[in-house]
């Protein structure tokens, strides 16, 4: 039996590594995706392109604008003369936000009234708009604080030092500069393993069926279990290799810290791979052609990635959808990856995720193997 499995494995590996193109397919696409994701997936906002329309043109209004030019979050690109230009610049996509100070701004300030600062934001991308508005509020508050302090200093010099104020001291843990890359790079590892292993496994079986070589194999003395092992073990190993490769890129190239234990990561990857292999086998039992296999694979992989909380927080999804995400094995793997990379926690915290992945893997593999054996009859 072992001998037959070995031959089967050799055959599979020859097929997979046959030529340059197929070898490239195993490692090229994941690498490219990792690099593109690492560089392109940024949600933080720095140097948002800003235009200023100052209709007051006083020392106070210029002071307020200076607060914005000094901030790393804004890049004042244009100083406008009338309101129409704002619309045009935003329409052309040249600026994300515009600050408008009306005439009479300084006068209101001097009288001790509340002076308005108008902000116009292009919110076609709602997240950019939200983050930028948050920064506008911070800069505005700093200006207000400074101005208040100045005025107080003039009115009652001796009281200045004792006016109370409450300040927030934000301390981001695990990712002190709040870099998106640190969030996305560990997540991409999970996505890529899922994509690679599910498609490779499903295609390997369906291709034989489509070309007609499946019948040829079935008339050889190989047993079904041996055939299934032969079709899964290579991709299990390739999946592990891919995981190691992309994790190395994440740590060495993108400098995302890895704070957990490699053994726990390996355990998590193995448990996750079981489920991915199960899904790949399952798809192969319901597809007659490679096109069908690919589309079915896509229908599983795409929601699995979106619902895993890879790009957007699960807590922001509607409640009914949040419950659905518990069925997604990638959800657990994402928690494992991010916790190991950034938080450096161990099995004592991650055991529920590990258990969920193991359960999914065992059930999925069992169902697939049973279905697969039937489909061979």
């Amino acid at each position: 039996m072992l001998r037959r499995i070995r031959y089967m494995l050799i055959k599979e590996f020859i097929q997979v590594f046959r030529d340059k193109r197929s070898r490239f397919l195993l490692f090229g696409p994941p690498l490219i995706q990792m690099l593109v994701f690492g560089y392109a997936a940024t949600l933080e906002i720095h140097h948002a392109s800003t235009a200023v329309l100052d209709l007051d043109n006083t020392q106070e209004s210029r002071e307020l604008i200076a607060h914005f030019t000094a901030s790393p979050y804004f890049d004042v690109r244009a100083r406008l003369a009338n309101r129409r230009e704002i619309g045009e610049l935003i329409d052309r996509g040249e600026i994300v936000l515009a600050l408008q100070i009306r005439a009479g701004f300084a006068e209101k300030l001097r009288k001790g009234q509340t002076a308005p600062l108008q902000v116009i934001v292009d919110s076609a991308n709602s997240n950019t708009a939200l983050v930028a508005l948050g920064y506008v509020n911070q800069v505005a508050a700093r200006f207000a604080g400074d101005y208040q302090a100045d005025r107080l200093h003039r009115l009652m010099p001796q009281a200045m030092a004792v006016m109370p104020s409450v300040e927030l001291e934000g301390r981001p843990w695990f990712n002190p500069d709040l870099e998106s890359r640190w969030f996305f790079v560990p997540g991409v590892i999970g996505n890529l393993i899922l994509i690679m292993v599910v498609t490779l496994t499903a295609f390997a079986v369906v291709r034989e069926r489509e070309i007609g070589t499946l019948e040829q194999i079935m008339v050889t003395p190989i047993r079904r279990v041996e055939f299934i092992l032969g079709k899964t073990v290579p991709f299990f190993l390739i999946g592990l290799l891919d995981a190691a490769l992309i994790s190395a890129v994440g740590t060495l190239w993108f400098q995302v810290p890895f704070r957990g234990s490699i053994a726990v990561l390996a355990l998590g990857t193995v448990l996750f791979l079981l489920g991915a292999l199960g899904v790949g086998l399952f798809i192969s039992t319901i597809s007659a052609t490679q096109q069908q296999a690919m589309v079915s694979g896509f229908f599983f992989i795409m929601p699995a990635i979106i619902f895993s909380g890879f790009g957007t927080p699960i807590s922001s999804m509607p409640p009914w959808l949040q419950k659905l995400t518990y069925l997604d094995p990638l959800r657990y793997f994402q928690v494992v990856l991010r916790s190991l990379y950034l938080k450096g926690v161990g099995l004592d915290v991650l055991w529920p995720q590990m258990a969920a992945m193991a359960a999914f893997g065992v059930v999925m593999l069992a169902v697939s193997v049973i279905r697969f054996q039937k489909s061979l009859d």
Binding site: Q33, E169, Q290
Partner: protein, 369 residues
């Protein structure tokens, strides 16, 4: 030729279902699941003082829609544990001398420990906490001033924000234009890339070539049904976006369908080109994924703002057709800007469509020779 392709698609009943189901499923998953908004952040509180003013500050957090005060703890290890296992995203620590310091004057610091592993949510949560603290601080200061005879004091500055195009800052309004591009990429490249690759793999391509059909005719015949499917899918996307998710549609339908047809030509020729070059279905599917789906998702600017990417990547986005298409879709759905503003994007798409069609037919001829 076209009829052959139509028959082949129709025979495969599942493909037909996919053609309808794919855009529906894509737009529903994206529309519901892709939201970067942060609401009801789970907050733990470590109030080291437990006085009237400290509780007053916490009430401000409680009143906010963005926070959900789930638990009060009385030691640091409990906080650390909660942040580690993810049950708490933001922890507020109020110093033991909070009210004393408020009376003495000067700055009092409230700590916000935030789980930074999700950088974007952490940024938003910190921004919101900042806003709450600022409001509280302003209130404390005004009270302090009025106690000292500065009655009628008002906060010096107010920010009056107007959000254009997407007034309620709904994620889904920005997502739908991007989903349209993704659906087109998938239908255009995934499905077509496999058709030609399949003929090579099965050896039926040689049969086709031996008939007196020219390469251009083969290509047109292969692609025509997918044009129809693509246009149908895009109409479906728009219908769901506007009808179900209530995304506004402020532009012209003619621009919508015209630019979609152009973009469809781009992705179809790209898919065709890939399939001619790749030959195996596995290779074709991987290549199509990298060449169309991934850029449409990552580099088109629908989710990740292009101007925040590193300079090199920004340059790369100029050769991503989806970038121009997403910009047009945004404008058609949300901005309704006049056609003049779209000319550049439309021209870029036209150039891509032309160049890729030429490239695909030439590659096919070469493959035959």
């Amino acid at each position: 030729m076209t009829r052959k392709e139509v028959i082949q698609i129709r025979r495969d009943a599942r493909s037909l279902l996919i053609v309808v189901a794919m855009p529906v499923i894509l737009i529903l998953t994206f529309g519901y699941a892709i939201s970067l908004d942060v609401k009801h952040v789970p907050v733990y509180v470590f109030d080291r003082e437990g006085s009237q003013p400290s509780q007053d500050l916490l009430k401000h957090f409680q009143a906010s829609d963005y926070f959900n005060l789930v638990r009060a703890v009385d030691n640091y290890p409990a906080l650390i544990r909660a942040i580690d296992d993810g049950s708490c995203q933001l922890a507020l620590v109020i110093p033991p001398d909070f009210s004393q310091k408020l009376q003495d004057g000067g700055a009092v610091h409230v700590q916000a420990l935030v789980d930074g592993s999700d950088a974007n949510s952490a940024t938003l949560a910190l921004n919101y906490s900042q806003a709450v603290i600022q409001a509280y601080s302003a209130q404390v200061q005004l009270e302090w001033l009025s106690l000292r005879g500065q009655t009628g004091a008002q906060p010096p500055l107010s920010v009056d924000a107007r959000t254009w195009f997407n007034e309620d800052l709904e994620s889904v309004a920005g997502i739908v234009p991007g989903v349209v591009a993704i659906v087109m990429s998938v239908v255009g490249s995934f499905l077509t890339a496999l058709t030609i690759a399949r003929e090579w793999e099965r050896g039926t391509m040689e049969q086709l070539i031996s008939t007196p059909v020219t390469p251009l005719e083969i290509m047109l015949g292969k692609l025509a049904p997918y044009v129809v499917i693509g246009m149908f899918d895009i109409a479906l996307c728009a219908a769901i976006g506007v009808g179900w998710f209530h995304v506004p549609f402020r532009g012209k339908w003619s621009v919508f369908f015209g630019s979609s047809a152009l973009f469809l030509m781009v992705v179809l020729s790209l898919g065709y080109f890939i399939s001619v070059v790749a030959k195996s279905q596995l290779a074709a599917s991987q290549a199509a994924l990298i060449a169309t789906f991934l850029p449409a998702f990552l580099l088109s600017g629908f989710l990740f703002p292009i101007d925040q990417m590193p300079a090199v990547i920004q340059v790369v986005t100029h050769v991503i057709p989806a970038r121009y298409f997403v910009s047009i879709m945004r404008s058609v759905f949300l901005k309704g800007s006049p056609l003049v503003f779209l000319m550049n994007d439309l021209a870029a798409l036209a150039v891509f469509a032309l160049a890729l069609t030429l490239l695909a037919t030439r590659a096919f001829k070469k493959q035959l020779g």
